[in-house]
């Protein structure tokens, strides 16, 4: 670990901060552009109708309708950094609290799906890449083609139809059983309810990772050193373990962390189908219900998660690949 390595990490951090600021500006601009009337959204149509002009003006002043957008943005961003993300209009609670609850629900789902799809995708990609053109490769390729053409929500619907409606094995929705007090919910209940959504997310996540890993594996298998190793009689597991593994790990790590964004996107759909009260469902509710503070906060939180993933991938790069660690990061 030399100095250039730390500078590399520092540059990454600065980039993330800049990107986050830009995203917040774009998000804010988009929300400003929306035709939703802030007064009507905050006070409600009926209450607004019965008010006099003076009252409305007072309210406009209170909500800062007429202050310039830049100033509005600065005060919002300032509060945001201090941890005050505003009040959710839908849930009538501080946004921070809503996000904390929803995120903790989603996190388990996302983590299971992320790990499962990563490991499965890697394994399938390697198997398929090492057996290029054979039956296993064709099967895996076909599976990946079908899955990547399938919308996540439809797959969720199918699984719901088969396992919940026909076979009654898994519950139809929600993250906890209906009619049980919060204290009575066990961990087993939570896992039981998360199985189907997590399964759907994992299935959809696998195909992308598997296909990309396959491409890389084929490149490796065509390289001279693998040819040489084969000539000496290396094959199967040994060939993979000592010649393929480290080389294919590098792109796999990037893929794995880049897939966070996709898994998150998928969770929005899957949570909607299974009525799973997570961050994705909150985002949809916020979008449909014009709950701008919540929507903006979710956007920024999810962007931070994605960037955090990218940063981790960059750091892991250094750990796996000695060339980068010793300062080869800058090309």
């Amino acid at each position: 670990m030399n100095r250039r390595w730390y500078i590399f990490i520092l540059k990454n951090l600065i980039r993330i901060v800049l990107l986050t600021v830009c995203i917040s500006i774009v998000t804010f601009a988009l929300m400003k552009a929306s035709p939703i009337d802030p007064l009507q959204a905050n006070v409600g149509q009926a209450a607004l109708g019965s008010m006099s002009q003076e009252q409305k003006e007072k309210l406009e002043e209170y909500w800062g309708v007429n202050t310039p957008p830049v100033q509005q943005y600065l005060s919002w961003a300032g509060d945001f950094v201090r941890g005050d993300m505003g009040t959710s209009l839908l849930y009538r609670q501080p946004v921070t609290k809503v996000i904390a609850v929803k995120l903790s629900n989603s996190l388990m789902l996302l983590a299971i799906a992320w790990i499962l799809s990563g490991i499965l995708g890697f394994a399938l990609g390697v198997i398929s890449g090492m057996n290029r053109g054979r039956l296993a490769d064709k099967l895996i390729k076909g599976y990946c083609l079908i899955i990547s053409s399938t919308p996540a929500f439809w797959l969720a619907l199918l699984l719901l139809m088969i396992f919940s409606v026909w076979l009654h094995i898994f519950p139809i929705g929600l993250s906890v059983p209906i009619g049980v007090e919060a204290s009575g919910v066990t961990l087993a209940d939570r896992i039981y309810h998360a199985v189907l959504p997590a399964l759907t997310l994992s299935i959809t996540g696998v195909s992308n990772i598997a296909l990309h890993t396959r491409e890389k594996m084929i490149d490796i298998m065509e390289s001279d050193y693998v040819l040489f190793a084969r000539m000496r009689g290396e094959k199967g597991w040994r060939l993979f373990r000592y010649y393929g593994f480290r080389n294919v790990l590098l792109p796999a790590v990037t893929l794995q962390f880049a897939s966070i964004s996709e898994i998150f996107g998928g969770s929005v759909l899957v949570e909607q189908v299974f009525s799973y009260p997570g961050l994705g469902q909150a985002a949809v509710a916020a979008g449909l219900g014009s709950d701008l503070p919540l929507l903006m906060a979710i956007t920024i939180v999810s962007a931070l998660i994605v960037f955090g993933g990218n940063l981790t991938a960059n750091i892991l790069y250094g750990l796996i690949d000695p060339r980068i660690r010793r300062g080869g990061a800058e090309k």
């Binding site: 995203i23 552009a33 083609l145 919308p151 139809m161 979008g287």
Partner: protein, 274 residues
């Protein structure tokens, strides 16, 4: 026994794909009225010879509705592809000709778009444009250029270092000349393939966003809306409402994938003669 060689089989695949897509588009466009007709004498029919996809709770023919929805999806895909093609080409050429600062800015913008999960970005744009199909169309068109632009940019950066470009520069050719005469012809095949492979994403995202309830409109039954309506009737055992439209959607997306991959095989010099 193989009657056709691989190249001929690939071409055959492309022809079938195009016929399939054209058929969906044509029947979808013709069936605008039929997709809205309600007839209570035939509601909730399971799939039979007359209505292969069955009918829904208002007696609407699901086959017509599905085709209509898919043709809308394909048109949205075309809009997204056209816009993305323009943006990606301009940005790619800009990063090729205008030096490192511009290139850094471009990659920053690409990162910016990629930073927000795609669905969330679509929701944001849809809200900003006041929900409705317009918001979905514009959103899908505006957000898909990033991946194509990234592909083109990576290729351009590699090309810039290649000997024949460097020699051309040393010979005193202008950057614009190099971009026009040397880079664009080289990039075109990949560009076309990337463009076709953009369709599946555009269609999947469009169907997802309409499924979530954005862009709801009764006259234009987008495929996502058809499916989200069917979800409400799923528990009562009307499986055909979700199954068949979904299968056709998957088929359409898959055809685009096959089309893109076949084009890659034909255009890539490495595999064109296999």
């Amino acid at each position: 026994m193989k009657i056709l060689n691989r190249r001929q089989r690939v071409i055959l695949g492309i022809i079938f794909s195009i016929i399939f897509l054209a058929a969906v588009c044509i029947f979808g466009s013709l069936g605008t009225e039929a997709a809205r007709v309600t007839d209570f004498s035939r509601k909730n029919l399971a799939p039979c010879a007359e209505y292969i996809f069955g009918t829904d709770w208002l007696g609407r023919d699901m086959l017509v509705r599905t085709l209509k929805g898919l043709s809308i999806s394909i048109f949205i895909g075309i809009a997204a592809a056209a816009f993305s093609a323009a943006v990606a080409l301009v940005l790619g050429i800009a990063s090729a000709t205008m030096g490192k600062t511009v290139d850094a800015v471009i990659s920053f913008i690409i990162d910016l778009i990629m930073g927000v999960p795609h669905i969330l970005l679509l929701i944001l744009i849809s809200v900003a444009l006041g929900k409705g199909l317009k918001g979905v169309v514009i959103g899908v068109a505006l957000t898909h250029w990033a991946s194509l632009a990234r592909l083109i940019r990576a290729e351009v950066i590699q090309l810039r270092e290649s000997p024949y470009i460097q020699i051309a520069a040393k010979l005193g050719k202008s950057k614009w000349y190099i971009a026009r005469k040397h880079m664009i012809p080289h990039l075109l095949p990949q560009f076309l393939v990337g463009l076709v492979l953009l369709f599946p994403h555009a269609i999947l995202h469009e169907s997802s966003v309409t499924f979530l309830g954005f862009g709801l409109s009764t006259e234009q039954p987008a495929i996502g809306i058809v499916l989200s309506e069917s979800m409400k009737y799923l528990v009562t055992g009307k499986w055909w409402l979700a199954l068949f439209p979904g299968i056709l959607l998957v088929a359409t997306v898959m055809v685009f994938y096959v089309l893109g991959e076949s084009m890659r095989k034909l255009l890539d010099p490495g595999s064109a003669h296999e």
